[in-house]
C-alpha cells in the first residue's frame, strides 16, 4: 500500500476538508509523510485532466469535483444551491461584516430570503445591529466552498482571482 494512496483513500472517505493531523492519526502515518503525500496528490490530480481535484482549504485538504464538472452533474446532487444564492454568499463573504441593509442595496429584495437560507445552511452568521442585521461568514463557510484563505485580505484576493480567472 503506497503512502500516497492511503492519504488519497482517506480524502475520498472523509468527503469533507480534513487536517493532515487527522489523517496521520487515523491511518497511523507520520505527519511528514502525510504532508508530502498531500502535496503530490494536489499536483497529480490537477494535472491528470480528470474531473476530480484535491485542493487546499486553509489548513485542510479536500477531494471534490472540479468546478465545471460539479456544475455539469449538479442535477445528480441532492441539494443544489442556486446561482443567485451563491452570488449573495460570495458578496457577503467579500464585504463582511456587512449589514443586511447594505446587502439589500446590492442584490435587492431577494436579500432577505437568501440570508435566511444561508443561515439555515449554517454558512453565515447574523447579529442584530440597529434596525438591521450584521452578516458574516460562519466557520464552515470556507470549508464548504473550498476557499483557501485565513484572513480578510486573503479572502478578498481569493475572490478577486476567481472573478478575473473563472474556472
Amino acid at each position: 500500500m503506497k503512502d500516497e494512496s492511503v492519504v488519497e483513500a482517506a480524502l475520498f472517505c472523509a468527503g469533507k476538508p480534513i487536517e493532515a493531523e487527522e489523517i496521520a492519526e487515523s491511518v497511523g502515518m507520520e505527519m511528514d509523510e502525510v504532508k508530502a503525500s498531500l502535496k503530490k496528490l494536489v499536483k497529480d490530480y490537477s494535472s491528470n485532466g480528470g474531473a476530480i481535484e484535491i485542493v487546499k482549504v486553509g489548513r485542510k485538504h479536500v477531494m471534490q469535483l472540479k468546478g465545471e464538472y460539479a456544475e455539469r452533474v449538479s442535477l445528480m446532487a441532492d441539494t443544489e444551491i442556486s446561482k443567485d444564492l451563491l452570488k449573495t454568499a460570495a458578496l457577503i463573504a467579500y464585504h463582511q461584516p456587512v449589514m443586511q441593509s447594505s446587502l439589500h442595496k446590492m442584490v435587492g429584495g431577494k436579500a432577505y430570503e437568501h440570508v435566511k437560507e444561508l443561515k439555515e445552511r449554517n454558512l453565515i452568521l447574523t447579529r442584530p445591529k440597529g434596525n438591521s442585521l450584521e452578516l458574516s461568514t460562519s466557520k464552515s463557510f470556507p470549508d464548504h466552498f473550498g476557499i483557501d484563505a485565513t484572513n480578510r485580505d486573503e479572502i478578498k484576493k481569493w475572490f478577486q482571482e476567481q472573478i478575473q480567472n473563472p474556472q
Binding site: F12, C13, A14, G15, K16, V62, M63, Q64, L65, G67, Y69, A70, E71, V73, S74, A77, D78, T79, E80, K83, L86, K87, A89, A90, L91, A93, Y94, H95, Q96, P97, V98, M99, S102, M106, V107, N122, L125, N131, E134, S136, T137, S138, K139, S140, F141, P142, H144, F145, G146, I147, N151, R152, I155, K156, F159, Q160, Q162, I163, P166, Q167
Partner: protein, 308 residues
Amino acid sequence: MNEQYEAVLNHLLFHKSIISEDDDSERIDRYLHMVHDIDKGMHIVVDDPFEKSIAAAFELVIEHMFDPWDINLREFTKMYLKQVKKGGYVNFVVAGKLVLMAWSILKLQSEEVLVLADPPKQEEENYFGDWEFDSGIYQESEDLDFTHAVLNKPSPPIHDPIRTQNQRPVTLIELVDAFDEARKEAELQVTINELRKKARPERPPDFSEKIHKEDLNEDMALTWNRLCRFDGHPIPLHDLYNHDIWDRVTVFVSALFLANMNKVKIWQRKFPYGEIMIKRLVEPEDGLTMLSEDALEEDMIQTKVAVV
C-alpha cells in the same frame, strides 16, 4: 364560557406535547380556572370580548409564568386577523398592546431556545473574527468592481462543491463515549432548568399595571412633555424613548394620536428601515396640559432625554 374563550383555550393547548406529564391535569385545571376568572371580568379593561380573550391568553404566559411555548403565536395572529377582517373596527391601542405582548412571548420563547438549544460551538464562531466593522462597503473601487462583476457575470465566483458522502455505522466505543457525554450534559441541563425556574418570577414585566392604565391622555402628555424639551426641529422618534419596551409602545402610540391632532408631524426617512422622525408643529403652550411637577420630575429621572 363563551365560544371565543374556548377557541383561545384550544389554541393554548395546541402544543400538547410540551406539557409535562407530571402536572398536566393540574395544569389544565389551572388554565380553566384562570380563563374562568378572566371571563368574570378580572384584569382586562379591553371591551371587545375577542381581543380580551387573546389578551387573557397572553397574560397567562406573561403574568402567570406559564410555558411560553404553549402559546402558538401564528395561530393567534391568524385568529386575530380573521376577527379584524370580520369586524372592521380596530382599536389600535389595544392592537399595539397585543403586538407587544406577542413580542414578549416570542422573546420568552427565544430566551428558552437560547438556554436550551446549546448550539454547537462552531456555529457561534466567526471565521474571520478579526475583521473590522463595515465602515462603508463601497470605500474602494475594487470592491465596487467586485460587486458588479459578481452580479453581472453568469457564473458565481464560488461553486457548491460536490464531494463524496460516505457514512459508516457508529462503533460501540463511540456510542459509549456519546452516552458518557450525554449524561454529564443532561445533569447540567437539569441544574440549569432548576436555576431558571427559581429566577423566573423576577422576569416578567409589570404587565397588569400597564394594561390597567389605558389613560391615553396621560400618555400623550408624557410624550408631548418629552418632545417640548427639544427646540422644535425634527428629531428621531427614538430620542423620546427610554429603554423600557412599554415606554416605546406608549410613546409611539401617543405620538400617532398627537399627529392625528395636528400637534406633531411624523414621517419615515426611508421605507422600510429608515429613521422615524417627529417634529412639533405648535408651541409647547399650545399643545397639551403639561404633566404635574412630580410626574415631570419622575419622568426626567426615568428617561435620558436631553434637555435643550
